[in-house]
Symmetry: C2
DNA sequence: TTTAATTTTTAGACATGTCTAAAAAAATAT
DNA sequence: ATATTTTTTTAGACATGTCTAAAAATTAAA
């Protein structure tokens, strides 16, 4: 079995591999886990011995199939627990991450299967991120950044890129919630801000916001 | 905060204190946690520095009020999670303990409060053990061992003393479930076994069983 | 293509929690 | 009261996971 620390390394590498085709660098992992490169090297050697990563000195690291499976299972647990917290325990979407970071390490296949069933086999977590199935497959939906919409185009809000507590609370304040229809009324050239409409409400959002919100075009 | 290991020590001492008025011995703790006495001494020193136990060399250890509160909170979490697993995730009562051992260390007051509410503020876990409230108070009900019943007396099954998986599965097989009414039909002198009635079923149980089953006399 | 900057690895240290073996204290027996 | 047994503590070791500082390799610049 794998320790809590080993699991966190595998998960970090998994996330980094999703947005990179090369081997994952020691430094990138260190940054992701807010630890030091030297610690990463040590751990990578251990994971390599356990055959969950392929490692060649100075060349970065990649997950093996086994490693990928373990990592995606942790992500699966993380996201299922997030759904549970929101759907069953009245957490808001900005409160769930830290608790899920703990719960993702609980070891019990039955627990996860039953939780999945209790929640109605959800495919996405409260932030719009896909929940891997037991084999690690994830249902990707075609989503675009809100910033790619043209004037008078609309989309359904389906996810966030930055899911920090601050950003999520900001969205709450603005009334921006997953599932809502957003229409671009105006794109301002001078600062790339957007005038948008949600329900009957018109509001202005900065370019930074528009670059962190995913929508499904309609 | 307290590490997983520290929490397990506090919980062990808490359980041992419930059935002892003296200070808890190093050896007793070591046995409870299946570790070595020397390790216990080391840990006790640390817990003593943190003011959660009172320790005097060679004199055993007792929980301070702070220590008691922390320990009872862990027990609270353990038992609430056990209820959750049985009530919401279709676990049977012999499957919950090991998972609860992991879940009891999750840190999130909101999680526990909401879980408590979701479960309808239960007072007892699936094994009939009381769930401490937030201040550590536990609702004790007057319960007796089945073996103390006389011929023709009856009781409601309210708990088990031994809650090992094997014993619980044995009870399942016999149809003995918490909440059932049990009537003693006969006490056999030569082996202290009991002939009992549950629902319409008559069955014979050994003295060992009768000494591990709690009932509320009616 | 040599030099400089950056990244990665190694060497050595430290904290945590555990262990075995030996010493010290307490409890029990003679 | 002294000797023996049991319990508890100490001393020293080890595994895990982390760190800093220095060395080595790679990459970028001149
Ligand atoms: Mn999360
Ligand atoms: Mn999420
Ligand atoms: Mn239990
Ligand atoms: Mn229980």
């Amino acid at each position: 079995m794998f320790t809590l620390s080993e699991e966190n390394y595998l998960k970090a590498i998994y996330h980094l591999e999703l947005s990179s085709d090369k081997g994952i660098s020691t430094n990138a992992i260190a940054e992701q886990l807010t630890t030091k490169a030297s610690s990463v090297t040590d751990m990578i050697k251990k994971l390599s011995e356990k055959k969950v990563v392929v490692y060649k000195k100075y060349k970065g690291v990649t997950l093996t199939n086994t490693g990928k499976k373990i990592a995606s299972n942790i992500v699966r647990k993380h996201r299922l627990w997030e759904v549970f917290l929101v759907e069953k325990l009245n957490f808001s979407w900005d409160e769930v991450h830290d608790v899920a970071e703990q719960l993702e390490h609980i070891k019990s296949p039955k627990l996860i299967n039953q939780l999945d069933a209790l929640l109605g086999f959800p495919t996405h977590d409260p932030h719009g991120d896909p929940i891997p199935d037991e084999d690690g497959n994830l249902k990707t939906i075609e989503k675009s950044l809100l910033s790619t919409l043209q004037k008078n185009e609309s989309g359904i809000c389906v996810g966030v890129d930055d899911s920090s507590s601050e950003f999520l609370q900001f969205l709450d304040k603005k009334g921006i919630i997953l599932g809502k229809k957003i229409t671009v009324l105006e794109k301002e050239d001078f600062d790339n801000s957007f005038a948008i409409q949600i329900d009957d409400k018109k509001l202005s959002i900065s370019n930074k916001i528009a670059n962190n919100l995913y929508i499904r075009k309609i």
